[in-house]
């Protein structure tokens, strides 16, 4: 078994004729927080969506190169994309619990769909476990049948995280998870990321270098679809190897 959760080799992504991600190589170690940072529109989210084959949804997108998940190429012919998505959970920029399902059913849906639990008791237990793990249980235990519209942005995002955790994935990807929630909610999500890395590999996309510095162990800086620099967070933030990274970190890159 590879000691890396995800290994990316010469990854290229095109939208039609638009070359969005240009020959990126990355190694994401297991059970760490790996931040991918870069200015808006540099291709971070697109690249993230290639790690769980969510990019398949976009008919214009074309991927070349390889993405290996624990040593297995997820773009190989015999791979079931549904299985890949089960192993690689995803949290989105806009907190998107399903608005027509109760808090309980939001988490139950994926478990039922993929037949991950065998009995009603197990389902109930798994939902409670996931909500506790996401630090939301105390806030919602009395209103599991309410709709998520009554939750704050931060709570919704933690519900989405619970929805992901319940599936027991190996990797959790987060696409700017705090971009649309208030500072208090953001702090809770960041604390949660810290907690979760004990059990999961976390890939965090952010356009906020300060957030990358706060929560990540490793960081990669992407600019205009190219990998500028990657390495340990501490090292890159104190002694960036490239002028471009330095400009980005000091806020001089627009």
């Amino acid at each position: 078994m590879s000691k890396y959760a995800i290994e990316v080799e010469n990854l290229n992504i095109y939208y039609g004729n638009n070359h969005v991600i240009k020959g990126i190589n990355l190694k994401i170690p297991q059970k760490t927080v790996f931040a991918i940072m870069g200015p808006s529109g540099c291709g971070k989210s697109t690249m993230l969506r290639s790690f769980n084959r969510l990019l398949d949804l976009n008919k214009n997108a074309r991927v070349t190169g390889s993405v290996r998940l624990f040593g297995r190429d997820i773009y190989a012919g015999d791979i079931d994309s549904v299985e890949v998505r089960r192993e690689v959970g995803m949290v989105f920029q806009y907190p998107n619990p399903f608005p027509h399902l109760s808090i309980y059913d939001n988490i139950a849906l994926g478990l039922k769909m993929n037949k991950l639990v065998k009995s009603a008791e197990e389902l109930e237990g798994r939902i409670e476990w996931a909500l506790k793990k996401a630090g939301l249980w105390e806030e919602v235990k009395h209103r599991l049948n309410d709709y998520p519209s009554g939750l704050s942005g931060g709570q919704r995002q933690r519900l989405v995280i619970a929805r992901v955790i319940a599936m027991k994935p190996k990797v959790i990807m987060m696409d700017e998870p705090t971009a649309n929630i208030d500072p208090v909610g953001s702090k809770k999500v960041e604390d949660l990321i810290f907690e979760l890395k004990k059990d999961y590999t976390i890939v965090l996309v952010t356009h906020n270098p300060a957030q990358a510095a706060r929560v990540s162990d490793y960081v990669a800086f992407i600019y205009l679809g190219e990998l500028v620099e990657t390495g340990e967070t501490g090292k890159i933030f104190t002694a960036p190897g490239s002028k471009l990274t330095e400009k980005y970190l000091t806020g001089k890159l627009v």
Partner: protein
Amino acid sequence: MYQFDMRRIKEYSFLGVICILSFLMIFPLFHIIFTVFADGIGTLVSTGPVFITGTLDEGGIGPAILGTIILAFFASLIGIPIAFAVGVYAYEYPHSVIGKATTALLEITQEFPTILVGLFVTQILVLPMGTYSAIAGAFALAIILMPYVAVYTKEAMSQIPFTFREAAFSIGVPKVKTVFLIIAPIAKRGILTGLLISVAKVAGETAPLLFTAGGLYQTYPDSLTQPVGAIPLLIYTLVQSPSPADHAMAWGASLVLLLIFLAAFIPLRLSIKEVRL
């Protein structure tokens, strides 16, 4: 001191023009509702409950009311399932060749003259069967109903943010289930409102029924393969008569049609809760 203020004058004159134009637009609608009430209520009150339950000879429009309900029901039964599937298809594959063709075709059929639909059904059903029938009328209405239902379904589903689709896929929900368990339920208010508008529209149609449903007002219908009446069709027939009593009856029937429409539309519309995003 109050100053001569060009900006303020412009704003108020613009507001005034908008108000007048809005009034001109809404006025006919209220005028129709008012006239139908004013002229219809007299007939309804003087005839009493017999107007709703009786046959034409008894001074009532019962068979026409039942006919409209039968026609709308069977038109929905035939048209809605097919149209819903077409709407889902057009939503799911908007860029495929068939998807594009479907969307274009739907827009054309929406504007299609309804009397031509009646003629078409005459050709394929009424002539072979040798008689006007409820089923022919319902079939004609179903053809008119379908493009509306399909377009409303597609539009309602297209309004749902892409992120919910991504979320469903990301937790391993298959494509078909994503459409039917996630997207359609989130869009249910839009879809059901579209259904209502479509059914209400065909329930008020006259032209396609002229040579398909035929008309039946002296007795209640007892078979789907026999002619059947409808309120709009009856109004059309009564208005052509020279007798003032028939005209009064036509106003009464118009009021009943309006009341059925309002009674079905308003409670249903209010009862469908919007999914709050």
